[in-house]
Symmetry: C2
Subunit: 183 residues, 2 copies
């Protein structure tokens, strides 16, 4: 979904610094003036880079937002390993909820949902879905019966994201209780 080309990127080099500055500018602008008015020239100005640099690397504001969302919501949560699926999911659900209460996270999520063609928003939740599958797989490897990953995703992440996107604010203790209702 992104046009970033890591082949020409050295960690810590100019390319990485531009990327960090541009991603930071997107998040800052989103929290200051949600979606409305977010343009590549505005992002470039805030990041202190030339607009052409941003156009060349990301192509469009939708692709840039998708890249920021992918980056933000991938690898940011550690999958718990408590010894049981239920307590793994409880701990993890509380962390997902806590993250969505962060204004930066919510702003990026809302922008990721609102921009680009249908389908690009999946990068906001792809890592969350993979983590549910990983927790279930670990339970299976312990020799226990396991629930369906798709059903678990819908019944756990469905209510959590519904609250975050439409009602504002996700209580971590409530998110944990959703896990006990899965059985």
């Amino acid at each position: 979904m992104t046009t970033e080309t890591p082949s020409t990127t050295r960690p810590g080099g100019r390319s990485a610094r531009v990327r960090a500055a541009v991603h930071r500018a997107v998040v800052d602008l989103l929290t200051e003036q949600p979606a409305d008015g977010l343009t590549i020239p505005a992002v470039a100005q805030r990041a202190g880079v030339h607009p052409t640099t941003v156009y060349r690397r990301w192509g469009s504001i939708a692709e840039l937002i998708a890249a920021v969302a992918s980056s933000r919501f991938t690898g940011d949560l550690v999958v718990p390993d408590t010894g049981s699926l239920r307590s793994d999911l409880q701990q993890w659900a509380a962390e997902v909820a806590t993250d969505l209460n962060d204004p930066d996270s919510l702003a990026i999520l809302r922008a990721g949902v609102g921009s680009g063609p249908p389908g690009t928003s999946h990068n906001c939740v792809a890592d969350r879905e993979a983590q549910i599958a990983a927790m279930i797989e670990r339970e299976r490897a312990r020799g226990h019966a396991t629930p369906d990953a798709t059903a678990t995703t819908e019944r756990l992440l469905g209510p959590i994201y519904y609250r975050a996107l439409f009602q504002g604010g996700v209580d971590p203790a409530w998110a944990q209780r959703l896990v006990t209702e899965l059985d």
Copy 2:
């Protein structure tokens, strides 16, 4: 959330025609070039009205999108009255799913989530939540035990909107099956 002033509006008058043209222009532009680039001048041009008219009446693109979403997702579905809560909810869930498969509806929903300050997106689902409460209230009036409206909303609309927003496409038969899992 909207600055529309119905006090000066006559049905079928110029004000109503402008409103209809502007709302239509927003939907057309959203389905053609999602979110990215939606501006009041572009909407005004498509609607054939002066940008000042749009600024004066709606204030900002975020408020205009909120007004379009409110209008679109309010009063569009009829609450079924089949004689039992379960079959009411099943029929209604299938209709919600079918509506979200309409590209116009999905584009408006995504734009409603992506624009404006946190909280404005609730107008996309306020009528849906009121309808669930109404179906439960009717079951209560029949003298039957009733589930909690908030829990029913989260367990039914949570998975449906998660699929619509992040996975694209909501199977109406699957949405109906969610109702049988509520018990």
